[in-house]
């Protein structure tokens, strides 16, 4: 009687499936890592640009203050060159997908500060200081679908 024996020396279906799954997982991981690196490089470039615009914005506010303190008013502005000088114009401005603005607000100081010439600034419950403003420069942009924002604050006083 012929003993018909079927010898299988290749891989089983399970082995092949496991190998393919491992391979695909590894490749997907590597691709994910590459994409993450690309996104993070782009984001870092954008962040540097935003930081520059932010610094530029607060610097122009100092220029407006230096030009004439009485030019300052409460509100939301953006800097623009008007007649060869920096001015604050109402509203926000977008530069290369980065929105920027300056919030100018009054500040309050402690009502009494024990004989000190200049009292400390307080958030509430003080008296409005007529010769000091708070300028908050803000830049806002989208990074991977998420809103990002950076701020820089400075006090602007009547004295230089």
């Amino acid at each position: 009687m012929n003993n018909l024996k079927f010898k299988s020396s290749g891989f089983t279906l399970v082995e092949v499936l496991v190998a393919i799954t491992l391979f695909v997982t590894l490749i997907a991981g590597l691709i994910g890592l590459t994409q993450l690196s690309v996104k993070s490089t782009a984001a870092s470039k954008f962040r540097v640009q935003a930081k520059n615009i932010l610094q530029q914005t607060i610097e122009t506010v100092m220029a407006v203050r230096a030009s004439n303190f009485s030019n300052l008013n409460e509100g939301i502005f953006h800097p623009e060159i008007v007649s060869d000088k920096w001015s604050l114009v109402s509203g926000t401005e977008t530069i290369d997908s980065i929105e920027r603005w300056v919030e100018i607000s009054r500040v309050q100081r402690e009502i009494s500060c024990g004989g000190e010439r200049v009292c400390l600034v307080v958030d509430s419950g003080g008296v409005v200081d007529p010769v000091t403003f708070k300028a908050k420069a803000v830049v806002s942009w989208q990074e991977n679908g998420q809103d990002q924002q950076e701020e820089l604050e400075s006090f602007l006083t009547f004295w230089r």
Binding site: I27, T34, T41, V48, Q56, A63, S67, S70, D84, W86
Partner: protein, 176 residues
């Protein structure tokens, strides 16, 4: 007679070769793309670092300057204060922004700039200084720098702009 089959069939060899080639191409591409991204990240970080260095030195001199002159059609800057005088000048041939400083009372800005402001690894392809509100207490210098860097797998040019306010009142009086 029994035929022994111990080697690979032609099909097996062809399939194996194809698989190896595909994998090798994918691996090489991945390696190059990773190295390129590394170069890109390095290039961009070098650019922003160098721009920041240049801006911070120039900001300090502008803030305390009593006299500010823009020279060479916006490609150079001279500042004078009672203690020190500075010259910043773009050198087209070396593609660098150079400076020189004299520290003494009643000095005049140096006539030649011989020191590099930024690293030699970064080229400065364009410099533009602009003075705003010349006679006002809000004298402001706008500065634009075009920086270029070459890496083996990536080269890039980026423009950086900054604004610096001069905090010294030209007239010496109260500006408000």
């Amino acid at each position: 007679m029994k035929k022994s089959k111990t080697g690979f069939t032609l099909i097996e060899i062809v399939v194996s070769f194809a698989a190896i080639i595909v994998l090798a191409i994918a691996a090489t591409n991945f390696l190059f793309s990773t190295l390129t991204q590394r170069d890109q990240a390095l290039a961009e970080s070098m650019l922003s670092e160098q721009a920041e260095t240049a801006f911070s030195i120039i900001a300090n001199t502008i803030r305390s300057a009593q006299q500010i002159n823009i020279i060479d059609g916006g490609q150079g800057l001279e500042t004078t204060n009672p203690e020190e005088c500075w010259l910043f000048k773009w050198d087209n041939s070396s593609q660098q922004l150079k400076f020189n400083q004299i520290t003494s009372s009643s000095c005049s800005p140096p006539s030649e700039a011989n020191q590099l402001l930024t690293s030699q690894l970064v080229n400065i392809t364009q410099v533009d200084f602009d003075l705003l509100a010349v006679d006002d207490s809000s004298r402001t210098v706008s500065m634009t720098l075009d920086l270029q860097v070459y890496r083996p797998l990536w080269n890039t040019t980026q423009q950086f702009s900054q604004v610096f306010v001069n905090l010294i009142d030209v007239s010496g009086g109260d500006d408000d």
